[in-house]
Amino acid sequence: MTRPLDICFICGAGLGSSLACQMEAEEVLAAAGIRANLGHEAISGIPGVRADIIVSAENFKPTIEKYELDPDIAFVFLKNIVDKTEIAAKLLPVVQEKEAQA
């Protein structure tokens, strides 16, 4: 049994939409039988985030890419952050890849 992945959800203030996205992702991951630790954070806190995967909305992509983060962190950017289909399509492959590496 490998350690569960850490997935961090990011939005502007780290309150509402990142939590909404996290709740949807939690269900997607549970349906796929994947165990992971989920958390959410404001974009200001990104340099201190230690996660395997960072999930955020597409409008934050340029800002997030400005930070020189740990190259091991994988990114997932979503257009509709509460759309389970999109979350499943974009997040699950990344999760499986990460788990294969572990």
């Binding site: 780290g14 309150l15 909404a20 409008n59 509709n80």
Partner: protein, 430 residues
């Protein structure tokens, strides 16, 4: 009886404990394990007190700003901040327990309305629920309601807004997202509809598609505005410095000691952002357990419900409109800051958090209805509108003895004014 009295005096007056108990109830109803219940409950309580600490920092720096503004311009300048109102109501008025219970009551009323009316929305933006319960309780209390009646009235009014506001915005949200899967749960909706209305009036006639903000290339240097705390700092630091420069060193000489007064102003403006940052961290801890619990419960009780979510959910659909909305709303609030005193209102300093979130969302509404023109002109009007309502509130707050406070989110203000103008006269007549 003594046991009950002890509980009332020691537990039910402690808002943090009540919020913790609500989270615990939610976790137990979701059948989480003992460990998860204990951790989740503790995190929620911790979050509440982190929020209070942030409010205290914010109130201190706003008090300083008020003194300086008064000295500089010989008029009262008010920074509307619902967070500070919440802190004051909890720490100084002892209404924290009622606010926490109204928070739960609003959620229950919301579920009942979603279950039995065609408005199938479950309001899941936790901080907005907290601000709504703050406003309804503070104003219900000012209207003379007490005890269970106060909590009941606050819950009914707040719960009504929880379904009515998403329903009001839904026709436009549908156009933004292209489907009906999500709704907007953010208590600035009346402002969004004002912007949408203005955008509709100024839209280009005789074209199939309005020219969208999203076809523009905005300079990349504006991207940092997406970071809430940076956009706060960019406005608040110059604002504090300008006010301090005009006021000079005298007004706060005793507090400053040997430090240069401009340096002190700079540090105070940083403190303002610190207050917001700490407060937000508290809200994050506080809601991390409650909101998923609310969602789990509501999905069981109202299977065909739609979640009403926080406004940034819409941001990826029109990122340029968000930036344009923020800037134009800020311009509108600055114009109102100068213009409103001319017609006898207090000076309302722009509340930058609201300008960003509400302004950005309003920008999306404006762009969707009336394209670029709608976003820009509508944005300025939106800025005027969201300054006018807090100005109306100030007098009411002053009567309650609130120090230099007002609130921002227009739907919560509307709810508060309902109590002030409708419930209060009735209570006085009885």
């Amino acid at each position: 009886m003594s046991v009950i009295n002890w509980i009332i005096n020691n537990v039910l007056t402690q808002a943090g404990i009540i919020i913790g108990l609500i989270a615990m109830l939610g976790l137990i109803l979701q059948k989480k394990g003992l460990g998860a219940v204990v951790i989740g409950t503790f995190k929620t309580i911790l979050g509440f007190y982190v929020l209070s600490a942030g409010s205290a920092v914010l109130v201190t720096t706003l008090t300083y700003f008020g003194v300086m503004f008064q000295a500089a311009f010989h008029t009262t300048g008010i920074v509307p901040s619902i967070e500070a109102v919440n802190g004051y109501a909890t720490n100084n008025l002892g209404l924290g327990g009622q606010i926490a219970l109204a928070f739960l009551g609003i959620f229950i009323v919301n579920i009942l309305l979603a279950r039995f009316t065609p408005w199938k929305y479950i309001f899941l933006t936790g901080q907005a629920l907290l601000w709504m319960s703050t406003m309804t309780v503070v104003f219900g209390h000012a209207a003379g309601l007490r005890g269970a009646w106060l909590i009941l009235a606050a819950s009914l009014v707040g719960g009504f807004f929880c379904v009515a506001m998403p329903a009001l915005a839904q026709p436009i949200v549908r156009r933004i997202t292209g489907n009906d899967a999500i709704a907007l749960g953010h208590f600035c909706t009346i402002g969004y509809m004002v912007e949408a209305g203005v955008a509709w009036l100024v839209r280009k006639r005789n074209v199939d598609k309005q020219p969208s903000t999203e076809d523009l290339k905005l300079p990349r240097s504006l991207e940092f505005l997406q970071d809430t705390y940076m956009s706060l700092a960019v406005v608040m630091i110059p604002l504090f410095l300008v006010v301090a420069a005009v006021a000079g060193p005298e007004p706060v000489a005793e507090d400053v000691g040997t430090m240069n007064y401009m340096m002190y102003a700079f540090l105070q403006s940083i403190q303002f952002v610190v207050g917001v940052y700490v407060l937000m961290a508290g809200v994050r801890l506080l809601l991390g357990e409650i909101v998923p619990a609310f969602r789990g419960i509501s999905m069981k009780l109202v299977p065909d419900s739609k979640p009403a979510l926080d406004c940034p959910v819409l941001f990826p659909y029109a990122p340029n409109a968000v930036v344009i909305g923020f800037i134009t709303t800020t311009i509108g609030t600055l114009i109102a800051m100068v213009a409103l005193p001319a017609v006898g209102f207090a000076v309302i300093v722009p509340g930058m958090l609201t300008n960003f979130f509400a302004g950005g969302t309003a920008g999306i509404f404006g762009n969707t209805v009336g394209g670029r023109r709608g976003a820009i002109i509508g944005g300025v009007v939106h800025g005027l509108f969201i300054t006018l309502l807090p100005a109306l509130l100030v007098t009411t707050f002053m009567n309650l003895g609130f120090p230099n406070l007002s609130a921002t989110d227009v739907d919560t203000i509307t709810a508060g004014l309902l109590f002030a103008y409708i419930v209060r006269p009735i209570m006085n007549a009885l």
